[in-house]
């Protein structure tokens, strides 16, 4: 066993030296792309028994979503505010939803300065035409009010913000 080992090791050494001289290419392509990143998922504050809100003054945090676009005028962003809880305890009444999406931060003043002004509000969905390359941060706020001023039962509540990037 030992003898075989002694004989094979020099061959391995030669092989290893030969392998060390090869090149290992790293391939990649650069394509136009739209990347959606969640900078901040958002949390609900509970300022009173019948209200859940993402307002920072009430102990909540709004959701912040970042869009990175590498090709100008090729995408538009659609962001939907929550209209229901995706998970919650059994609710005693109907919930009224309000919210809004706004441009919080941009990386190009000239190209993106008018995003907020030019956005389309389609009900619960705000659409932005991403005409410039770079990064845009959108902030979405949401407020849920229980009907009849009834209290929200104890438990976990989750509401969904949908961020879409759609090619033109």
């Amino acid at each position: 066993m030992f003898k075989h080992t002694i004989l094979s090791l020099p061959i391995l050494a030669l092989t290893a030296i030969a392998a060390a001289s090869e090149n290992a290419p790293i391939n990649g392509t650069v394509q136009s792309r739209c990347i959606i990143q969640t900078d901040q998922a958002g949390t609900f504050g509970n300022p009173n028994a019948y209200t859940l809100t993402t307002s920072p003054t009430d102990g909540g945090d709004p959701a912040v979503i970042r869009y990175d676009v590498t090709l100008a005028d090729a995408y538009y962003a659609q962001i939907s505010i929550p209209t229901s809880f995706s998970s919650s305890p059994t609710l005693p009444d109907q919930v009224t939803w309000t919210g809004d999406t706004t441009v919080k931060t941009i990386s190009d003043a000239t190209g993106m300065g008018s995003y907020e002004t030019n956005k389309l509000e389609l009900g619960d969905v705000d659409r932005y035409d991403l005409t410039a390359t770079g990064s845009t941060w959108f902030e979405t706020t949401s407020t849920a009010v229980m009907g009849g001023s009834k209290a929200f039962p104890g438990g976990n509540y989750t509401a969904m913000v949908t961020a879409e990037c759609i090619a033109k």
Partner: protein, 286 residues
């Protein structure tokens, strides 16, 4: 040895490698002006390769405002860096901007004071400007012996800080001078006499000193011998005197001279032997 043969070739350099970093916020007050010396770290081999800034615009929706983030050119006129954000009509008040602007790596010596200037009816809030950089420690080759172009330093020459000592200010100078001046006035003959006398005195003193040394050595040796002797000597007692009572011992038996007859028994034995001897001798002859 086999393991070493298999060990992959691994080149490890002990050289000094460059490193990267970024500064903190250069904007420290509402003046929106800063000096780069207050912002950049110390190393001279520092090249700035990017500017990162952000702020919130304050304007009316219908107004047009330009915001310039810039650094002056130390080596000439104009700017070494200038980025302009044009906030067109339609852009809303309270919008934030966050940008990274890469630049060609330029040494810190070219970067002058920085500023944010607003052109038009508007202002900025919560401004933040920081610089990304790369530092080459071997910008000064003398930083380390591992740097290319390093030259070993020459031997240090020391400059002595000392105050000249004026012997004439010494307290005993006057006395010594008097003595010396007295010696200068004596004649040649007197000097030789004096020197001879001084030699004699020196020899005498030396002899006395040596004698004292010899004496002390002799005393020490004698003392040591005495001590050695006393440590080894035993107390011996002399022999006791013994008296031995002697006298004369006379013989008790005295033989009187007379004739002693021959023993008949002896004669018979002798004769027999004689006869036997004679027979033996005759037996040899026919």
């Amino acid at each position: 040895m086999v393991v070493l043969a298999l060990w992959p070739g691994y080149c490890y350099s002990d050289g000094i490698v460059p490193y990267y970093g970024s500064t903190g916020n250069a904007v420290t007050d509402q003046s929106l002006r800063w000096s780069m010396d207050n912002v950049l770290p110390e190393p001279p081999g520092l090249d700035i390769n990017g500017v990162i800034y952000s702020y919130t615009i304050r304007k009316q929706t219908g107004d047009s405002v330009d915001v310039n983030v810039s650094n002056e050119n130390v080596a000439g006129t104009g700017y070494i860096f200038r980025e302009t954000d044009s906030w067109l009509p339609g852009s809303l008040d309270g919008t934030q901007i966050s940008k990274i602007v890469p630049t060609l790596p330029l040494n810190r010596e070219f970067w002058g004071d920085g500023s944010i200037d607003v052109e038009g009816p508007g202002s900025v809030e919560d401004a933040s400007v920081s610089y990304s950089y790369k530092v080459d420690p071997c910008y000064n080759p003398q930083f380390s012996a591992a740097c290319p172009g390093y030259e070993p330093p020459a031997v240090d020459t020391y400059s002595l800080n000392y105050e000249p000592y004026d012997a004439t200010q010494h307290a005993d100078y006057d006395e010594a001078e008097d003595r010396y001046s007295d010696e200068e006035g004596e004649s040649e003959e007197d000097r030789s006499d004096r020197e001879s006398e001084e030699d004699r005195d020196r020899r005498e003193r030396l002899e006395k000193a040596l004698a004292a040394v010899d004496n002390s050595m002799l005393f020490a040796n004698a003392l040591a011998a005495s001590q050695a002797l006393s440590s080894t000597t035993l107390s011996l007692q002399t022999y006791e005197n013994k008296t031995i009572f002697g006298g004369i011992y006379t013989d008790n038996i005295v033989l009187k001279d007379s004739q002693l007859p021959d023993s008949g028994l002896g004669a018979r034995n002798g004769l027999a032997q004689q006869l036997l001897h004679k027979q033996m001798v005759n037996s040899q002859y026919d």
